[in-house]
């Protein structure tokens, strides 16, 4: 809101300042972090600035990215969706079954399309259960989505007996491993999803209501916005995004197992907070979160290139979140001092 008002309030500001206002302090910080990470690994390893790194980032980013988008809208609405990964698993299972029921490796494109629609439908349905419970009973989102997570994990384990499901047609492969004009297809799907989410959050009623519900739900309700319907829709959309993530995960691993990407749940929350989303809801930008995701993935790929394990990357992700939060706190203190001076 303040961003769009700022240029009209002070039209004669210098170009750098206007640019700064346009990009936003949050993104400037993230861009600096991005440059630091690239410079750090670029100097340590000459192989870092290469197509291989780009490919590794581009192919690994989408799973985490799509799940983070699914996490983003509930967090901005002042909630959370801890069920994202297991919803994605179940959506993947749905697609796998439709494919298997139609001949496994010989399944037709139509079966794939039908399965994908059903997969997204299953994801949406999971959101349609959680959303109303949160909206109408006032139960805490952490609790509702946590029990949904336990339920979905159990349902998936019950249905698959913990086994991998594989044996899919050849034409799914490009969805997880192919490239279009040199750009990996999963990355294209992620970018498309980011654009859709960005437009939805900045240009639609639902996006606006999402921010308002996260800022002050009572005031929003009194202004005539159907908050309960908004919350239900938010969780349904979050579930739908999990469906897309589930389809991508199926084609990336060429198999479905309940528990794939289990550790991503808290990483998606971490990415949102790193991207400047307010933990209490109400504020946060899709583009900033996308930048945060790129930084996280670059860190992981860079450390991998240096021979360190993924676990060290996990620890550094955590340290980075703490570091950024401390920097934000320091920036807040400085602003406070400037105002009160």
């Amino acid at each position: 809101m303040t961003d769009s008002l700022a240029p009209t309030a002070a039209p004669k500001r210098s170009l750098p300042r206007r640019l700064f206002a346009k990009i936003g302090a949050e993104n400037i910080g993230l861009l600096i972090a991005l440059v630091v990470v690239i410079a750090f690994f670029g100097t340590l390893s000459p192989r870092f600035l290469s197509m291989a790194t780009f490919d590794s980032v581009a192919f690994q980013l989408p799973e985490l990215g799509l799940l983070t988008l699914a996490m983003l809208m509930p967090i901005i609405a002042g909630g959370i969706n801890l069920a994202v990964t297991f919803t994605a698993n179940l959506c993947g299972l749905t697609l796998a079954w439709v494919l298997h029921a139609n001949g496994g490796p010989d399944a037709s494109v139509f079966a794939f399309l039908l399965g994908s629609v059903l997969a997204v439908g299953v994801g949406t349905a999971s959101g349609f259960v959680m959303g109303p419970v949160i909206a109408y009973t006032g139960a805490h989102p952490i609790l509702v989505t946590l029990s949904m997570m336990i339920f979905l994990r159990g349902l998936g384990e019950f249905l698959t007996r913990g086994a991998d499901i594989s044996g899919f047609p050849e034409f799914i492969q490009p969805l997880g491993h192919g490239s279009l004009l040199g750009v990996p297809i999963p990355l294209l799907i992620l970018i498309a999803a980011v654009i859709v989410w960005h437009i939805m959050m900045t240009r639609t009623r639902l996006g606006f209501s999402n921010y308002m519900v996260g800022s002050n739900i009572e005031a929003t309700r009194y202004s005539g916005i159907p908050t309960r319907r908004v919350i239900t829709l938010i969780y349904a959309l979050s579930g739908a995004m999990c469906g897309i993530a589930g389809i991508i995960m199926l084609s990336r691993f060429n198999s479905v197992r309940v528990g794939h990407g289990e550790s991503y749940v808290l990483i998606t929350v971490l990415a949102c907070f790193l991207g400047g989303v307010n933990p209490f809801g109400g504020f946060g930008k899709v583009v900033s979160v996308f930048l945060a995701l790129i930084i996280l993935q670059l860190l992981s790929s860079g450390l991998n290139l240096l021979g360190a394990s993924q676990h060290l990357a996990t620890a550094i992700w955590g340290i980075m979140l703490v570091g950024i939060m401390i920097l934000r706190w320091a920036a807040g203190q400085l602003t406070f001092l400037r105002i009160t001076r």
């Binding site: 139960a139 336990i150 159990g154 971490l270 676990h311 060290l312 703490v322």
Partner: protein
């Protein structure tokens, strides 16, 4: 008249009353459908297997009462297990006292890391503990390379029975040492939050931090006590889990934090602070473990356990948060507009 005080106690704690009714109903149903359920052996088995979770649960309860949340405690417990195991092997064995002492120090230290970040940099607890979850787990797996420790000191893995007797079928059964440790932790937590001034301050702080601050309550102390207590419980719970599992596996406890959280909140502790009782916490943990135990005895596939437990928690939360009257009113209001 003591007989009249019980209903009042129940009315003052609707969640606990509700849980007792459900728990009794489940127990009745199970004792009718399985002759193995209502036996001393099964009761002991239930207590033995729930001890780790209940120790974690009472620790988490204190943090929830103080208005925080902690995702990192189960991973912290894994770190404590590893640190204590390595330290004990270095000094050549030790005993229960040294083990618990080391675990307490390590656990409290990890809790203090969370508390310091929350207090000094004003970062909310969920962000801090998600970060420390990743830091603790990442560093633990990095330094240990995921290797387990099996050659533990004898006292640690030796099954000590408090009460022991032979069943009709010749098998020995009994209450293991962890149950005693669990009982001590539960009573200590109850005393802390119900019978000390610190406990009252924790409730007040959780309910209204700003109001508590203006009353002169030491906010820093509250953060450090709550997270330190959970760290202490995580350390002790970690020791007990090793005693039960007979090995130290770095990723054995990962994922446990969410199960414990669900049980504690099911027991009436409020996310957001200021509400929660030790009794509710015990009931929440036992509702989950009795259900699991019962499904096991009824011969239901273990793969279905989590699904059923998840569904039960989801339904319980929906019902306990939605008095039917309010739901009808909400629906009517919606159709009216």
């Amino acid at each position: 008249m003591p007989s009249l005080r019980l209903p009042k106690l129940l009315r003052a704690n609707p969640t606990e009353t509700w849980l007792i009714i459900v728990l009794v109903a489940i127990c009745l149903g199970l004792s009718l459908s399985s002759d193995k359920f209502f036996t001393i052996a099964n009761l002991f088995n239930l207590l033995n297997t729930s001890s780790t979770n209940l120790i974690f649960a009472v620790g988490l309860l204190v943090v929830l009462i103080a208005g925080g949340i902690d995702i990192s405690f189960a991973v912290a417990a894994s770190v404590v297990q590893y640190v204590v195991a390595v330290a004990l092997l270095r000094i050549g064995g030790g005993d229960w006292l040294i083990g618990i002492g080391l675990a307490a120090i390590a656990g409290i230290a990890l809790g203090a890391v969370n508390a310091a970040l929350i207090h000094y940099f004003r970062i909310i607890s969920i962000v801090v503990t998600i970060a420390t979850f990743n830091i603790f787990f990442g560093l633990l797996m990095f330094f240990t390379r995921g290797v387990s420790i099996y050659n533990l000191p004898e006292w640690w893995t030796h099954r000590t029975m408090l009460i022991e007797f032979q069943q009709a079928n010749g098998n020995w059964t009994g209450l293991a040492l962890p149950v005693a440790i669990m009982a001590i932790c539960v009573v200590a937590t109850w005393v802390l939050i119900r019978h000390t001034s610190i406990g009252r301050q924790l409730y007040a702080f959780g309910d209204n931090p700003e109001g508590a601050r203006r009353l002169g309550i030491n906010i820093a102390a509250m953060h450090f006590i709550a997270f330190g207590w959970l760290g202490l419980m995580a350390g002790i719970g970690g020791l007990v889990q090793v005693h039960y599992a007979q090995e130290v596996v770095p990723n054995a406890l990962i994922g446990r934090e969410l199960d414990v959280l669900a049980a504690v909140v099911l027991g009436g502790a409020r996310l957001g602070g200021g509400r929660g009782t030790v009794l509710g916490c015990i009931l929440g943990v036992f509702l989950v473990s009795v259900t699991q135990n019962g499904l096991n005895l009824l011969g239901i596939s273990p793969y279905a356990f989590k699904m059923i437990i998840g569904a039960i928690i989801l339904i319980a939360i929906t019902l306990s948060n939605a008095p039917l009257g309010r739901m009808v009113a909400a629906l009517r209001q919606r159709s009216g507009t």
